[in-house]
Amino acid sequence: MYRYDEFDAQIVRERVAEFRAQVARRLDGSLTEDEFKPLRLMNGLYLQLHAYMLRVAIPYGTLSSRQMRQLATIAERWDRGYGHFTTRQNIQFNWPVLRDVPDMLAALAEVEMHAIQTSGNCIRNTTSDPFAGAATDEIEDPRITCELIRQWSTLHPEFTFLGRKFKIAVTAASRDRAAIRVHDIGIEIVRNDAGETGYRILVGGGQGRTPMIAKELRGFLPRADLLPYLEAAMRVYNLMGRRDNKYKARIKILVHELGIERYREMVEAEFARGDRGAAPDAEETARIAAYFTPPALIPRDAGGLAQACAAHPDFAAWVDQNGHPHKVPGHRAMTVSLKPVGGAPGDATAEQMRVLAKAAERFSLDEMRVTHEQNIVLPHVAEADLFALWTLLKSQGLDAANRGLVTDIIACPGLDYCALATARSIPVAQAISTRFADPDRQREIGPLAIKISGCINACGHHHVGHIGILGLDKAGVESYQITLGGEPANDAALGARTGPGFAYDEVPGAIDTLVETYLGLRQPGETFLQTYRRVGMPPFKDALYADAA
């Protein structure tokens, strides 16, 4: 993985010192609260319902053991012994005290981490495929591009006071696991007819209160042009994006209002005018790429895997459900689920973080990935080591065999933590997960992504859940709207509403009704989404609202 050089280290140290000074200037009145707010947000510091919340950047979700151990230490020393992994492949600490935050940032800097641009109206943490470097279907490791973008977008002098936040995702695989179609800019690494690799650029996707699927801005962009082209796209947005209404300030609204053709003309004109000054030279790209050289894994035989699976059905189920094919024979990329039945999705205790660090160190070349589904991936595990890994994970309750199943629920923090939330989401996830606790039933139901947001801002990605749940406040009472048919990948789609909302207590029953309806309708081998796409909304709607009719 990428390691800081002296310059990366220095800029983070300087930023910590700058923030320390900004906190002091807020306390002595030099900065008003209005002035301080965007500065603290650009350092990942939110004022939440009960306390401050610090969101730490995990660039494209990649973490080393040393970094994970430091997160565990931070959780114990300055928080309540746990952290929350987010849909942006980051981690949040929910209970820091303002005066401690500069020390937390300094502790992060010790392990080449920071909280820069995890919030605020700037370019946020670039996200990517959690199986990068391991996946069988990728052209190259997308994190080389992500790291170029990370550096370019860090403390950008021109794009740090945008109209609204700006999110970029990169994939290099034929199967999009980075949800690039619901990002402000989505980047797909592609090969053209001449066999050259370059970029397909999508723009104007997003979730929030006005969900939209991204449109194609450029079918093929030569590699060297990436940063100058992004600069042109950002400049047009910064100059033209709406500033009169924060709910209409995302680039998706600009692209929608101008039309993709007009926006493209403006970007291409800006790009043509530019001097390509932003582009790194080939040596710099090569320097970064060297950190992402494919690991020297030796193809291995499965070393007793079949026997272990036969002897331990729980283990076999875990391997089957949480494993992903690896480029190198005899290896798997394993998902460690942070969704135990009845647990808060994405939460990990300090002890669990340490076990994950140990697991990565022993079994996965010292590397982990945070996924946007709020799980952890160990990307390079030898099949011969799987049983030892599983045994280690089990010791801290990290052995849930439910990746992609009905209990692998994405949920935002919701009303338990968030100042914006209009309803609870974690307890809804816990109730659904408990209702579907039976592992045999989960496997019988098959792939099913439930995503829950506690307000219209859609941090829980409900628009792209196979079943989406949106918690609203209806005259002081929580009401949950259900959507069906959303999907974030190549065939991205936004979910459609079933009808009137449900009370908090009714949600698990409603989900059960939807699942039973699917099981009754499905053809052999069909997933929930496939069945929904074939039969449409009516049978689900009829089943949900049968009593009311």
């Binding site: 700058e18 002098p157 740090t160 710099e284 320097r287």
Partner: protein
């Protein structure tokens, strides 16, 4: 009175803001507001003529006046409204080499970014001075010595610094 500063410190503002070309006084440096039907005072020297533009103006509209101007002032209606950063980049990209001023309630923490995007000087309202006197602007500028981006002014570019030992051209 507003404060004018550049990277050397607080400087005396030799320019006066006027409403119309008719107010142009011989020998005075004047800043006129932008208007759709803008007419610059005839015979007033370019290096004594300035123009103040709103931040929703397409910088392209300015190019035809470049030869008649010595200063462009860009409005920052609020420090959080960052359009002016891109306007500065566009103006510099289109060949504006004269003085470029940011005018509005921007804060010390933005000073480095403003200079990097091409501004020469910053004019802030008087009421900000009490809270953020000059030493804070100097301190803010000194706190961060590096940046990643190429093609911007000021601080050392990390990409250039990495390139130097390789002997590459900037």
């Amino acid at each position: 009175m507003p404060t004018l500063r550049d990277r050397t410190g607080v400087v005396l503002d030799g320019w006066i803001r006027v409403e119309t070309a008719a107010e142009a006084v011989d020998g005075a440096r004047i800043i006129l507001p932008w208007a759709e039907d803008l007419v610059l005072p005839e015979g007033h020297p370019a290096d004594m003529t300035g123009l103040h533009i709103p931040n929703d103006l397409d910088p392209e509209a300015m190019t035809r006046f470049f030869a008649q101007l010595g200063l462009i002032s860009v409005a920052f209606p609020a420090f959080s409204d960052g359009r002016g950063f891109s306007i500065a980049r566009r103006l510099r990209g289109m060949g504006w080499t004269g003085r470029l001023r940011a005018a509005g309630p921007v804060i010390a923490d933005q000073f480095a970014y403003l200079l990097e995007c091409g501004f020469d000087e910053v004019e802030t309202p008087e009421k900000l001075d009490a809270r953020q006197p000059q030493p804070q602007w100097e301190a803010a500028l000194a706190l961060v010595s590096l940046r990643y981006q190429r093609g911007y002014r000021g601080r050392q570019s990390i990409l250039e610094a990495r390139r130097a030992p390789r002997g590459g051209a900037a």
